[in-house]
Symmetry: D2
Subunit: 285 residues, 4 copies
């Protein structure tokens, strides 16, 4: 099992996947994949495993029933370059290991996040934390960009001036803006990474962090393709309904034609189809 070769993942090791104007995500190392999820799950079943003999079915069962611990057996390590305001959202996920560039030790580089003109948007009205979809005028875009660029240059010039006066780095950097790029090594297990991606690939996440999340999603797809597929099917493109919502659905759902045979058309077979019919029958009660 150990060090199983995975050419699709290994061929992207150490490659920088560009994010935003100057950032990147780079897969530094990884341990395990689909087969190590299944392997860890099987230890739970001991002698009793014989009947559960298809990896994909088992892996999907685990994801569907939120048996999350086997997914923790895969580990990924990334090197990421990202603006500080993105880093501040990112670091809220606590179940990960981090080593970040320190502005106390090092001189920060002259690199800032500059949004591309078409991503500069108005405040959304219904989404209190997000942007409107509406386009703004090229004139306004340019005005915003020139304000951003000018302030970034001024603050970096002053940072250099303070360093030239030999002011302590830890103090000289306090006025650098949140758009400054930082870098870190970030290591996380697959279960927690999928949770991170679920929240950060969501349409309510800020555009800038979404770019990073989507890039890492592509990487996961190579390392653990069956886990990724199950994640998309059951979690990312799934939906939760509340007790009251389920009642409404039950009242307006025509279940007559939803039979085991019918479900096969949707690729819902075996235990998965049975579980679905059971969920629907429970609604009707």
């Amino acid at each position: 099992m150990a060090h199983v070769t995975n050419p699709k993942a290994e061929e992207i090791l150490d490659k920088e996947f560009k994010c935003l104007n100057a950032g990147f995500v780079r897969l530094v190392d990884f341990m395990g994949g689909d087969e190590s999820i299944v392997q860890a799950a099987r230890v739970s079943y001991g002698k009793g495993t014989k009947s559960v003999n298809e990896d994909r079915i088992l892996l999907r069962y685990l994801m569907r029933h939120m048996h999350t611990t086997p997914f923790e057996m895969v580990e990924l390590k990334f090197h990421v370059k990202l603006p500080i305001f993105v880093a501040r959202q990112w670091i809220r996920h606590r179940t990960a290991n981090v080593n970040e560039l320190s502005g106390r030790y090092s001189i920060m580089k002259d690199e800032f996040y500059v949004p591309s003109a078409d991503t500069i948007k108005r405040q959304s009205i219904n989404n209190k934390q997000g942007r409107s979809d509406e386009e703004i005028s090229p004139e306004l875009q340019q005005k915003i960009l020139s304000i951003l660029l000018q302030d970034q240059q001024t603050s970096y010039n002053h940072y250099e001036e303070l360093l030239n006066d030999n002011i302590a780095r830890e103090l000289a950097r306090v006025n650098l803006p949140l758009s400054l790029y930082t870098e870190w090594y970030w290591k996380i297990d697959l279960h927690n990474l999928l949770h991170f991606l679920h929240l950060r690939m969501d349409k309510h996440a800020q555009f800038e962090i979404r770019i990073y999340a989507e890039t890492m999603g592509e990487i996961v797809k190579r390392i653990a393709p069956m886990a990724w597929e199950a994640f998309e099917d059951y979690v990312f493109y799934g939906e939760r309904f509340s007790k009251a919502e389920l009642k409404v659905i039950a009242d307006h759902l025509d279940m007559q034609k939803i039979t085991k045979e019918y479900l096969e058309k949707f690729n819902l077979k075996g235990l998965e189809a049975e579980e679905f019919l059971e969920k629907l029958n429970k609604l009707k009660k």
Copy 2:
């Protein structure tokens, strides 16, 4: 805010709620309640809070959208007496603080889990990890009970014999059975407790741990009644559907009558109703 009085919770402080034949759950201390969830959430909104002025609406919004961090601001501490096989399932939840009775320091008491006769059941056929619902004969029940009781007595007698020979406690105890009672202090925040209860109040959880989970659920209901209600509505009695399942539902759901006015009958109002209609409309695409 601090030390807000909560008479419904305070009146059960230190009371032992019996679980199984000789176990209990006892609320030792707690910090916060519904109001501290809302308080913590509001710091995120700063100046922008004025419009979100109803605690219950905010709290339900947080639960519905899995904004879980404010629920971490409530803390509960329990004293629990429980059989070791239950303790072994329980301890798998890592985000908690524990101090357990040590069989290296202390002499374990002569107290064992003995199932009540009516909970002795056959192996379930479709649920590989659980019991069948079917009753078994009183004769078989009595046979099982007498085997259990006799082995518990024998093993405890031998434990005492080893202690009388002054064998080290850490060694004398190795043959004590998993049915032996242990005790611990267990402290956890409300978010993680609700996650624990979701898994352990579930019908797939072993009967014995479910008894403890349900008892703690009653305690949570007193400490944070609005959070508990939201947990039941959105999480515990809610249901997740996969991408494929949603397609089937969409094809057989008659949405014509599901209007905002109609939803009010189900107490689905305001933003919650809008979000539901949005989810349904997305299905139809």
Copy 3:
């Protein structure tokens, strides 16, 4: 045990302790104190506790031997206002619960960290991450301050201009500097808080976060005075020596006069004195 009154801690509840030019630490709530540490430790000893009958001795024993779990049974919740560059160091401590003001939801206030003139120092030569102790000229101090103040004002003016153009808050804020104040609720158990304070009250920690750590230290001293005393004696003012260093010490240590009687003068008595003599004797071998 629950809700034991602790007047020395309760009298500071909700009071703002000023930190830096515009920040503060405020104790919002707490659960437990010295007596709950001892209470949790005693569950481990069960029947065997009778001999360990003095709380202070037990608590000091726990701290000395790094039996850390009983200290996790005390919980503290703070409301903190702090510059973002301090928040970025602080958040690296993962074992805590946080709700922070969001610049996506809220309009950030016009409040920035401005160092007092006498804390503006040169880069230290031997401490790569810190400041020199040497004073700098008042002229240079004033130059630095005026650069900082001017950039803070410019960046806030531009932030307001972008908000006036109704640019999304999540974007308008990207050029705000790391000296901007933010706020959060921060909840942590006593063991992890002491670990945080050990690192952040250390002379190698940045001056600005040290101010916050020292303020929280004063608060802990009121909530759990015996734990604080033990922390100072064994951890904060203690010292670790390596294998090689111990050899050197052993070779030059005159142990003849270090007797149990002699140690009493230093308040090293009972088990603690025995353990010390045992450590010293081990060195000499």
Copy 4:
């Protein structure tokens, strides 16, 4: 960096290292080694790294100053077979990932921990949680062994009898003893593993878990030899002294001959020697 070959570690992959009478530790997979610790640390220093150019020196500096996060960048995965009473001590370390054999799904095997005769000892008098060093008579050893073996056989026979009556596995197993062997996959980062080993290789740890800890220590030595050496030098064979103890040492330490030149004999050189002299000088004040 990724997938650097490490023949000394790879040659033991998947080998079972025997522990106790029927247990084992098996290294299933690992990610990283000494070089990935250094790599992660260097990201913190950015441009400023040039002067810290020797891996070993940097790695030892990190360990000495408890800069623990770079050690989290190495990950190890073990397959372990161990008695349940050992598993119960082990699982108290929460920062790890676990998948354990489930007695609800699987039929447990007839394998129990049987101490070798010479490890059966009396209760220690001064160590309340441990064994005396004194030998006991062969007759008493044999008596204890025969009690243990007999009860293990009885309880397993009864377990089989209950299974034959088709009693649910989750119930049939409740009287199995703590000496029964279980198995798990256990994954942990190097920093947390070293903390585990520090506590569990300690002479106060129970003999049985110490055997496992020492076995894993040998494995770590192959994966990250420089980190292991630093761990032994600074942590495992190091010693902490309290404020009062330091005063006593200061009063009886003849520091005249402890010079930089002298320290070289003990392989204390460069920054490490300077730091030691600084610690000693601080004592004398």
